[in-house]
């Protein structure tokens, strides 16, 4: 096993190879980015149409809604880069190709994570940066050192929470040889839920997204801090816990994955 620090240059080596491979298919790459921007812009247009008649959704206006959405999109962008391929761990296990991650002298979790580096996430970043600039000027958000640092840490927390859930979902594959399906059943709808302020959902759902699968910390709680909005049922400062929640949730996910790995029996040949 290598020391922690020597993993960093290794990560960039592995990732660099991945990026070069993806750039071979330039047309596909551009189409994916265009597609993602279109999909997110589509959701934004839907929000706009929705609020055309009603003006407000649970005390949130269109621009605030857009800001909330953009935080979710940016942290999801990092998740796609780092962890999205975890959902298809089942395919690797069933095909027997997972074994190659076990025979090398590095941490298998790290190796599996560094295997893929999806630069298609550029679409998420273009969209969310555009929204941040636009919404900040409309809503008069003054970016100072304090709230900028908070936003960065909130995004890191959000990446760890969503990445943690992806890791947990993939760990299911060690026992059941299924994971991709669980992504589409659990995580995809959950991510859709968090595109809107959680305050509009029944109390049970709000509790669930705060304390069980902490998706509320991905965008809702941090956004209420930055936009200085009141939230029902929870203290106003709850958003500040985002980085901590992310760290703890991810560590649990990592432990679970390593625990599952001990249970893993190769599909064999």
């Amino acid at each position: 096993m290598l020391s922690f620090l020597s993993y960093i240059p290794l990560y960039f080596r592995l990732v660099g190879a991945g990026i070069r491979a993806q750039m071979q298919y330039r047309f596909a790459f551009i189409m994916r980015i265009v597609g993602m921007i279109t999909a997110y812009a589509g959701t934004a247009v839907t929000m706009w149409v929705m609020l055309y008649e009603f003006k407000q959704l649970g005390q949130w206006n269109f621009y605030e809604l857009l800001f909330l959405f953009a935080i979710a999109v940016v942290s999801w962008g990092f998740c796609i880069i780092l962890f999205f391929h975890f959902r298809s761990l089942d395919t690797y296990i069933v095909n027997g190709t997972f074994d190659r991650f076990l025979v090398r002298p590095i941490n298998p979790f790290f190796h599996f994570m560094a295997m893929k580096f999806d630069i298609g996430a550029a679409g998420q970043f273009i969209f969310s940066i555009f929204v941040f600039i636009w919404v900040s000027s409309v809503l008069d958000i003054h970016w100072q050192l304090a709230n900028s640092i908070f936003l960065v840490f909130a995004i890191i927390g959000g990446v760890l929470i969503q990445g943690g859930l992806l890791v947990m979902i993939s760990a299911i594959a060690f026992w059941t040889t299924k994971s991709e399906r669980f992504y589409w059943v659990v995580m995809y709808p959950a991510r859709n839920l968090t595109n809107y302020p959680l305050g509009i959902y029944p109390k049970v759902v709000q509790w669930f997204t705060a304390f069980v699968v902490p998706f509320g910390f991905v965008n809702y709680f941090p956004a209420t801090v930055i936009l200085k909005k009141d939230i029902p049922f929870f203290p106003d400062y709850i958003g500040y816990f985002t980085p901590l929640v992310g760290l703890v949730f991810f560590l649990i996910a990592y432990r679970l994955w390593m625990f599952g790995l001990n249970h893993y029996k190769s599909a064999g040949s």
Partner: protein, 267 residues
Amino acid sequence: MEYIRMYSTFTKKAFLRSAAYRFDVWSRLISNVIFLLMWGSIWMALYSGREEAEGVSLVVMLTYVAVSQFLNAVNGAGTPLWEIQEKVRTGDIAFELMKPFDVPLRYLFADFGSVSFYILTALIPLYTILFIFFDLELPTSWLVWLFFILSAFLGFLIRYCIELTFGLFTFWLIETGGIEDIFYFSVSLLSGSVIPLWFFPGWLQTIASYLPFQGIYFIPNAIFIEEIAGQEMFMSISIQLFWLIVCYLILRFLWNKATKKVIVQGG
């Protein structure tokens, strides 16, 4: 007759195949429930205290959401588009084209099988419970039921034609990401699947009324909640029929062009 018997074999096979993948049914149902919860909550929050908006009460609006999610589940229960596209990419589509049946019809009839399995085993129980325990409104006359079922079926066919047409671009482009996303966005917004057309700004409503997408969700939904009633029902059904014919002809035209151009990758 011979024809119908042949294609209905695909329906029967697909029905039986669905029965073998029970996990699939459960997982679809769970995500359907989550989306019901999401759109139900959103509309309750949008109304927040208002008696009605554009002459539509909250109860009627929530019924619209429920019917829309039901149709959404129905439309999503067939062979997913990517599965057909994957066959184009790998070249397996060539084997299907060689066989003595019409591929679009074959997939349509297979979809009838998997969709009816899903409706019978999952959707009818779920939505019966939903309509019993929540304050939602059912149509009062059997005529409305009849028109709703007819309209929903036409909507299903329109969606099938449009989706397959978009899928055909795989024959030329191989990577279709961007085009597909435009398709999914148009279907979800302009079809009125999540926001009824009467809440659109005027200009967008006009655009939507000249497009086929309204036939997929908006018309059947509006018939169910009796926003479209009486003579208007005939008019709306005719609009759907018109779009079905147009979409079918476009699909046929592109299908003939595309299959002449099969690129078998790595073949």
